[in-house]
């Protein structure tokens, strides 16, 4: 599904990602872990087209995507969420999701028909709100909702474009223990049947969700494999788990 070849990214003399090779099979649930500043989010920004790689290539479904724009990558079926909530705060929850549904159906430049009359679009948007548990909040302004709800909407925006592969950047960031548990359930439920790649700090979350874990440190892959193998990997213990209180 996804193949990353010798990916590098530097900002001036600063090398953030240096030589990542990675493969994600279809249907895999892949977690990316690593200490703060390891380059995880930069890696996502490269995959989703936000940054252009300094060198190396990214292939999605066999097609090279490392030279494409974010909207083109999204249209191919690769959707991403953001670590810092990134919704449309001044619009209603329904409109947030509907804007994605419209885009997915290719209704992007239409300025003749009103959105209200597009019954199928509105129904589909409401279904997504049901899935993320925000149906009752449809008319509220996204920016005025509780933090946990905004995080759910953040995932809903990814979901609404019905991607084959989902990149989630710390969906539980800043959440309480209870909220995290709910969020993990949500992620698990809505990503069934999709390929998932998730950045996460919470080890409990990682070991619950993932069937492959890749550890990144200093912009390089330290180790990659099934959870049990990673848990007992000496280098990983030393670099990350051993010092992490979250484990």
């Amino acid at each position: 599904m996804l193949e990353v070849k010798n990916l590098c990214k530097n900002f001036g003399p600063l090398e953030i990602i240096c030589g990542i090779d990675l493969q994600v099979a279809e249907g895999q649930r892949h977690a990316i872990i690593g200490p703060n500043g390891a380059g995880k989010t930069t890696f996502f920004n490269l995959l989703s087209g936000n940054y252009k790689p300094s060198s190396g290539e990214i292939y999605f479904k066999g097609q090279k995507i490392s030279n494409l724009q974010p909207h083109q990558i999204n249209r191919l079926g690769l959707g991403r969420s953001f670590q810092i909530t990134n919704v449309f705060p001044g619009l209603s929850v329904l409109e947030n999701v509907r804007s994605v549904v419209l885009s997915r159906h290719g209704i992007r430049f239409n300025f003749f028909r009103t959105v209200e009359r597009m019954a199928a679009i509105n129904q589909e948007s409401m279904e997504i709100l049901e899935q993320i548990g925000l149906a009752e909040r449809a008319g509220h302004l996204a920016g005025e909702m509780a933090y946990g709800e905004q995080r759910a909407l953040e995932i809903g925006l990814v979901l609404a474009s019905n991607p084959e592969m989902v990149l989630l950047d710390e969906p539980t960031a800043g959440m309480s223990v209870d909220e995290t548990r709910e969020a993990v359930k949500l992620v698990d439920r809505v990503t069934q049947g999709k390929t998932l790649m998730i950045i996460e700090h919470d080890m409990e979350v990682v070991f619950t969700l993932a069937d492959v874990i890749t550890v990144i440190n200093y912009g390089q892959v330290l180790a990659s494999g099934p959870p049990d193998e990673i848990r007992n990997h000496p280098k990983v213990k030393e670099a990350y788990l051993g010092t992490g209180a979250s484990c």
Binding site: F82, P89, F111
Partner: protein, 331 residues
């Protein structure tokens, strides 16, 4: 139909009736003021498609207005166009300019967008001043307002203020209707998504750049239309139609009315035009008073007059509704 929707429809219907019988209510002098309000309302609405809806502050919207005005007057004078084709030509010229400038300006955001639109407007102003063969420079171009040709009815004279008023009213109403409708369409909604969070829009499959160019064309089309009407109204066009004063005029009128609502710009234009007329009878320092009003609004009511009206209405009528909403939330 909800009570609120019913109230809105009744208000709209009442407004239309007032507009329809306006010539019977006011003197010819004041009817000309109403025509001015109509034309500048359309100009401000087109400006607000960028400013209020897209979040793009243009300091150069007079470029489209001015090019529209020059186009209509020059088409009347040199090509012998009748009224409607001339006005349509003005809108198309505005739209084409919207495409040409849009390609460059929408690449940028915020301050840089504002500065680049300002620069382009200044450039076109200089062009209008220097290209005397076409524009007459500072002397301008004059052309009589031609008749309106209606198939089946023949020519309708536009010399009469009454005929001209109804013509402008219909053109502005239809355009306003379209602009209102636009806010409800996928592109119109996307326009507001881009204001809220341009960056996220990229990651849900939107080509932000292309969308903003199209929106710029639509906005420029209606600014050109307003300019075409203004040229036909004055039967004369000169560099004051395209200078930076004109660009700031539409900005101030929109701001005073409030950019956050669809009808705010219309309110701002009506208020300031009427105020100017009234004050200029009393004192020659009316621009000073206008300036004070502008500064006061920027400082104390940045949502403009429409924002003020809404908050007053909410306070008077909405107290009960707000209590109900809170009860619902805590339930």
């Amino acid at each position: 139909m909800t009570r609120r929707a019913l109230t809105n429809w009744l208000l709209l219907a009442a407004g239309l009736v007032v507009m329809a019988v306006m010539p019977a209510l006011v003197s010819e002098y004041n009817l000309n003021m109403v025509v001015t309000i109509l034309i500048y309302s359309l100009f401000a609405l087109s400006f607000n498609i960028l400013f209020g809806q897209a979040g793009l502050l243009s300091f150069g919207h007079a470029a489209y207005f001015g090019v529209g005005a020059y186009t209509s007057v020059i088409l009347f004078k040199m090509a012998g166009f009748s009224l409607l084709p001339g006005i349509l030509g003005a809108s198309v010229a505005g739209g084409i300019l919207g495409l040409l400038l849009g390609i460059f300006v929408v690449r940028l955001n915020g301050t840089y967008f504002a500065l680049l639109t300002l620069a382009f407007n200044a450039l076109l102003y200089a062009g209008a001043e220097k290209w005397r063969g076409l524009t007459g420079g500072e002397d301008g171009v004059a052309a009589m307002r031609p008749d309106l040709y209606i198939p089946g009815l023949g020519d309708v004279g536009m010399f009469s203020t009454l005929h001209w008023y109804y013509f402008v009213l219909i053109v502005v109403l239809l355009s306003t209707l379209f602009c209102w409708h636009f806010t409800k369409t996928p592109l119109g909604r996307l326009n507001e998504c881009l204001r809220e969070n341009e960056d996220r829009a990229r990651f849900i499959g939107y080509n932000v750049y292309a969308s903003q160019v199209v929106v710029n064309i639509i906005s420029a089309f209606f600014a050109g239309l307003a300019g075409g009407l203004a040229g036909a109204f004055q039967e004369f066009v000169t560099v004051t139609f395209i200078n930076l004063d004109k660009a700031s005029e539409v900005l101030i009128m929109t701001f005073v009315g409030g950019s956050g609502t669809f009808w705010g710009p219309i309110l701002g234009v009506s208020f300031l035009t009427y105020l100017n007329q009234w004050l200029s009878d009393l004192t020659e320092h009316w621009t000073l008073i206008q300036g004070i009003i502008f500064v006061a609004l920027v400082m104390y009511a940045p949502q403009g007059l429409s924002g003020l009206l809404i908050s007053v209405k909410d306070r008077l009528l909405g107290a009960r509704a707000a209590r109900m909403a809170t009860a619902k939330e805590t339930r």
